[in-house]
Symmetry: C2
């Protein structure tokens, strides 16, 4: 399995970006390869194409499965396992978002809640707790919003996008049009 120059460029880039996206180089490369290669790939083919050890490949595949970005694909006559993307690009992007939220936001929200319950040990701590509360609320808003967008799906997101700077306007409009609605 030799990669075309096009695929090689993309795979290398996703590898370099890997750590910024929450996984390591190898994992990024494997993901790119599986997504761009339409045929299902075996672990051995992946290891060969990327010139990485079989063990590392196994680790990478395991991690990608834990992120639910790839899934196994059983080919009838074959003994070995093959791998394919777990869904459309949109689905994959959502999974990455969600997984990162779990790792980057949720633990902090949880801690902030705990700290806000603690008895402040002095004057200053009251101000500190107010700040912590502010951070908590902001994270909560952002989280809720990203989930909202995920539920919309790609087409509606696109429509909404085309509103451009009009979102604020729609918002005002809504206040006038639906004054009685509670949600």
């Amino acid at each position: 399995m030799n990669m075309s120059p096009l695929v090689t460029s993309a795979v290398m880039h996703f590898g370099e970006m890997g750590n910024r996206w929450g996984f390591n180089r190898t994992v990024g490369q494997i993901l790119a390869l599986i997504v761009l290669h339409e045929e299902p790939l075996s672990a051995q083919e992946i290891a060969d194409a990327l010139s990485i050890s079989r063990g590392n490949t196994s680790m990478g595949l395991k991690e990608l499965q834990s992120w639910q970005l790839i899934k196994q694909h059983h080919v009838p006559g074959e003994r070995k396992e093959f791998f394919v993307p777990a869904g459309t690009i949109w689905v994959l992007a959502n999974r990455v978002f969600e997984e990162r939220r779990k790792r980057e936001i949720d633990p902090t929200m949880s801690l902030l809640r705990d700290l806000m319950m603690d008895t402040p040990s002095g004057e200053k701590d009251i101000a500190v707790q107010a700040r912590l509360n502010e951070i908590h609320d902001l994270l909560e808003s952002v989280t809720a919003w990203s989930q909202e967008l995920q539920n919309l799906g790609p087409e509606k997101l696109d429509t909404l996008m085309k509103l451009g700077a009009g979102v604020g306007r729609i918002l005002e409009l809504k206040d006038k049009l639906l004054p009685a609605k509670s949600n």
Copy 2:
């Protein structure tokens, strides 16, 4: 400058989360300390409070300034520099978002654009380019959206939030109410 247990917990946590958020432990700790401590802090005070070397502190402060998360604050009679947050929590959150976009999305968008211009070296590359295009468009949507939200400001974001699952509905409503509007 000794930190209360409350502040210590928060600072330690932000340190641990640091690498997930795009900077290292020390940088995370320094940021938390500056944000939670209402009085301006000197580099030496920060180094002492966190028990880190003066050099490391200097690096960290430099990086936080490059992210525009803190700014220098000159105290009249004093010779040394003090540091304070560069704005409200909302402003800081936006800066982090934007900086991460620059590091995590922009380079990929740029590469994808380039690869889509390349002459495909075979049948399969045409399909690959279609995929790359799909990824590009998705990233573009998400980027544009996050910028949109940043422009809204925290209060409107909150109002929008309260719509909850109603955003989709408003969208439909808008189609009926503003059919002639082009944007």
